[in-house]
């Protein structure tokens, strides 16, 4: 018994000692990303970055991503209190990045000045959406509309066409719409704000309630929306980032994308977290994505260049060309009129954010079962 017990005691204690010594040290050949940008894009971006690091520094870079919705990622970073387990935060709305910068949780972006200056300050009319932080704490990486996705076969069967927002309220679409709740997805939240800005608070909620009456599923994650539409479980998805929709096309599914008027366009901001375990890799990553090589990764995946310098173009049949067809001919957001009514000053307020979520929860989520019966 004696020896046996000692062995057990040692084994149990050994675990803790071992873990304490061996795994607390950070090494610069690692890089961790926390991002709401889904695997469809962050995976190739990380792979290309690792290849770039290998070529330039001859270092085998181990990369990993924590896929989290924007609000979750934001909360996680606040929770880390300046001791982050990730290096770079990528994606979502600029306003959240401003909040993080205010709390002193971000490092300033360190990229060449020419690169910084190439990026326009804002996009969209009448209200310009910022594409970079004037104080330099975050920078936009790509342009990405939150639009509508549909399954053409199902729509034809239902005898419905989708061109803009109001087509979603067609009674024939009852139970056919998929959307994510605005409190769990920033793309959904931003789209709700667009509707509220277009129609005003009262009429806007009226519209959104009608949308809920047509909604068959409120998914817990925004990425589920294009998934269920591409499978044909539901016919139309709302507030879907263009690249998520395009990823379904690349995956072999038959879906189409609509960029409705005034839909929110995000620059997918990126920032280096203060106290990042691997700061050098972090800053190198930001710079890499803004080079032509980095921008090409986006252009082949249903996203648009952040500067007017590049256009989505490729050989016939290439993914880049497929992406252009998929969005009915858009090659750059600097070629087309971009309407924007979303006001970051209004929608960015924390109080407003909670107000919208609370209203949604009370008047839509809790009453959804009754709404769909109408």
């Amino acid at each position: 018994m004696k020896r046996f017990a000692v062995v057990i005691a040692l084994a149990v204690m050994g675990f803790f000692c071992l873990s304490g010594i061996g795994f607390s040290q950070a090494i610069e050949n690692e890089f961790y990303l926390i991002t709401p940008v889904s695997k469809d894009v962050h995976d190739p971006a990380l792979k290309a970055f690792a290849a770039f690091v290998k070529k330039k520094y001859n270092v085998d870079l181990k990369t990993s991503a924590m896929p989290q919705g924007t609000p979750v990622a934001y909360g996680q970073i606040v929770e880390w209190k300046g001791k982050p387990q990730a290096d770079v935060f990528w994606g979502g709305e600029g306003t959240l990045f401003d909040l993080l910068a205010d709390q002193g949780l971000l490092d300033k972006v360190a990229i060449p000045k020419a690169m910084w200056d190439e990026i326009p300050a804002t996009i969209g009319k009448p209200i310009g959406l910022p594409l970079k932080d004037p104080k330099g704490y975050w920078v936009g990486t790509t342009l990405e509309p939150y639009g509508l996705i549909y399954q053409p076969t199902l729509l034809k069967r239902l005898g419905v066409e989708i061109k803009g927002w109001d087509d979603l309220l067609n009674p024939k679409l009852k139970g056919q719409i998929a959307q994510c709740t605005p409190d769990r997805s920033s793309s959904s939240h931003a789209s709700y704000e667009v509707i509220l800005a277009m129609y005003g608070w009262e009429k806007g909620w009226d519209w959104l309630t009608k949308l809920a009456a047509n909604t068959g599923i409120f998914t817990a994650r925004s990425r589920d929306v294009p998934s269920v539409v591409s499978k044909g479980e539901f016919a139309v998805g709302v507030a879907v980032p263009s690249y998520m929709a395009f990823a379904e096309v690349l995956g072999g599914y038959d879906v189409m994308f609509v960029y409705p008027k005034n839909a929110y366009v995000t620059p997918e901001p990126m920032a280096v977290l203060k106290g990042a375990p691997h700061p050098k890799a972090a800053h190198a990553f930001v710079e890499f994505l803004l080079t032509e090589e980095g921008q090409r990764i986006f252009m082949e995946r249903g996203l648009y260049p952040i500067t007017p310098k590049y256009k989505v173009q490729g050989a016939p049949g290439s993914n880049a060309e497929k992406a252009v067809q998929f969005t009915a001919g858009i090659r750059s957001f600097y070629d087309i009129p971009v309407g924007n009514v979303y006001d970051p000053k209004v929608a960015g307020e924390k109080k407003r954010n909670e107000e919208v979520n609370a209203y949604f929860r009370k008047e839509i989520a809790e009453k959804h079962k009754e709404l769909i019966k109408k």
Binding site: A5, A9, F16, Y74, Q85, T219, N357
Partner: protein, 570 residues
């Protein structure tokens, strides 16, 4: 808390008999329980009864019990749990009776196949169902394309869908518990009853029912808790007004501190409820019931040809339903761009390539962490079983209760408790435990410990004390006796228990999902990440591999343990 010591009646000699090493070992076991089970739970309760500033308050609970939405979630969770217990009871008991009492062709095969549905990692089960029975699933598409159905039948989206998935996943737990309990009824009791004229219902009421109740109650408790704690299945079918879903959703968002706090409170409520259920069921699920453990050979009745056909048809029907998710997963993991056709049109191996060859870390981490957790399970669990069956050490009753408690604890609750308890570095350590990968195998070990303990305990009871006494009488030390006499006799039981711990560790995805560390994802976490990342096919492929691994382990258990395999669940 003193119940254990009271039972053990500590004589002064208990301690003096023990060597220093033994005391240290016993202390180590207790340290393990205190650090990795008791402390996190206390921390969870502490957090739920205090404000952010650390002042005692009941306001959190008041918020919960005055919020109509949370009350509805609580109600729904209870209804779902009870509903699942009812449906699994009907199916599980029917199958147990058929397999145990009657003989018909294919009985052996069926007894293996009917436990397979237990191997169903969270999320992929419901995914598989949706592929076949969803609005655009195979069944609805066939009905629409060939039978003129206008609107798809809604099999999945709603509480009934969750009930369907849980029932077909969990009925084997019920079957195993009943098989185990009925296996312990000596046929002589049956004969005795019949000889005095007690037959049919009367016999069932007087003999079968009371003797199988303990097994049934513990099976029912497991099914209830499992359903109660599952947050992944409801989310896939668009249901979020359940306690586990609310706990999970509130915790994984950090923006709204109030919601975050509610997540902690909901977890605490789930743990409290689990403890309550356990206390109610305690007199049935205590490990001590195994004192009557003796498996007897049951004489099986031969069924008439018609009844045979009926039995086979019933089992086949249940199995076809239960195997739907496997079919859906297999199709989706090999099929490319599958939408609105009964079966995929194009097939590919690319998804397997991506999850197994390009990023082998999921499989490697899963095997590694589950492996380590089983080592911990054995290192902690075998001594516990030994202490409980061979010593009268004070506190062993409490150990028994704690081990049983683990079975009843919802994984979400443990995960959140760990998040709160280990967010600051422990003494003598520089990094917080939740930032280190070792926390994953540790939490897996804690959650799956009961299976190892029970497997070992059951086999220790069969080894008669006199064997060991004989060895000791000729001068062997306790350790030597254990090594030369006890171990060779119980290793099968230990192995079976450990394999169960292993299978279930492989499939764990509630605590680990909350505690995952970047770069150290396991298969279940990979499934979840692929799924929420929109790569449904990859998730299916990873799930498929996990199921194959599980089925292989189960096959080994089946070969080694035969009918005894229910023991670990009892």
């Amino acid at each position: 808390m003193n119940e254990g010591t009271a039972v053990a009646l500590p004589k002064p000699s208990v301690w003096s008999e023990m060597k220093i090493g033994g005391i240290l070992g016993y202390a180590a076991i207790w340290a393990f329980f205190i650090i990795f089970l008791i402390y996190p739970l206390i921390r969870l309760f502490y957090d739920s009864f205090t404000t952010e500033a650390g002042i005692f308050t009941l306001a959190n609970f008041q918020d919960f019990f005055t919020d109509a939405f949370y009350l509805k979630s609580l109600m729904n969770s209870m209804l779902l749990g009870v509903g699942t217990v009812i449906t699994t009871s009907i199916i599980g008991i029917a199958i147990a009776f058929l397999l145990l009492r009657y003989d018909f062709p294919g009985r052996g095969l069926f007894s293996y196949l009917t436990i397979i549905p237990m191997i169903m990692p969270p999320l992929v089960g419901v995914m598989g169902f949706v592929f076949i029975m969803g609005r655009a699933g195979t069944v609805n598409i066939i009905l629409q394309d060939y039978f003129g159905l206008q609107h798809p039948i809604n099999f999945m989206y709603g509480l009934h869908g969750v009930l369907l998935v849980e029932t077909l996943h969990l009925f084997p737990l019920m079957t195993l518990s009943i098989v185990d309990a009925m296996g312990k009824i000596s046929p002589s009791l049956d004969e005795a009853a019949e000889s005095v004229g007690s037959r049919g219902l009367r016999k069932f009421r007087d003999i079968t029912f009371p003797l199988t109740t303990p097994g049934y109650v513990s099976g029912a408790l497991l099914v209830f808790i499992w359903t109660f704690a599952d947050f992944a299945t409801p989310l896939v079918v668009g249901i979020s007004d359940l306690l586990a879903s609310q706990a999970y959703l509130n915790i994984v968002q950090f923006v709204d501190r109030r919601l975050f706090k509610m997540g902690i409170v909901i977890s605490a409520i789930m743990v409290i409820l689990a403890i309550l259920f356990l206390i109610i069921a305690k007199k049935y699920v205590s490990i001590k019931d195994y004192s009557s453990l003796s498996y007897s050979v049951i004489e099986r009745k031969k069924l008439s040809p018609l009844a045979q056909a009926g039995a086979i048809a019933f089992l086949a029907f249940i199995l076809i339903l239960a195997f739907i998710p496997y079919l859906g997963l297999a199709l989706d993991s090999f099929g490319r761009g599958w939408a609105l056709t009964p079966f995929p049109v194009k097939y590919t191996l690319q998804y397997f390539e991506r999850v197994a060859i390009e990023t082998p870390k999921f499989i490697i981490n899963s095997l590694l962490y589950s492996g380590i957790s089983v080592v911990i399970c054995i290192a902690v669990g075998v001594p516990i079983a030994w202490v409980m069956s061979r010593t009268r050490l004070p506190g062993r009753g409490v150990l028994d209760s704690l081990t049983t408690l683990i079975l009843a604890l919802p994984g979400t609750g443990i995960g959140i408790a760990y998040m709160r308890a280990f967010r600051d570095p422990l003494p003598f350590m520089t990094t917080a435990l939740i930032g280190m990968w070792i926390v994953i195998p540790v939490v897996l070990a804690v959650r799956r410990l009961p299976y190892t303990v029970r497997g070992t305990f059951a086999s220790l009871l069969i080894v008669h004390r006199s064997f060991e006494e004989a060895a000791e009488s000729v001068g062997a030390t306790k350790a030597r006796t254990f090594k030369d006499v006890t171990l060779p006799l119980i290793w099968k039981g230990v192995l079976v228990g450990s394999l169960y711990s292993f299978i279930l560790a492989l499939q764990e995805a509630s605590a680990t999902l909350l505690l995952v560390i970047p770069g150290h994802e396991m298969m279940t976490v990979g499934i979840f990440n692929f799924y929420i990342g929109g790569s449904v096919n990859e998730a299916a492929a990873l799930g498929f591999i996990l199921i194959i691994l599980g089925a292989a382990c189960l096959f080994i258990i089946n070969r080694m343990a035969g009918s005894k395999m229910g023991g670990v669940f009892g």
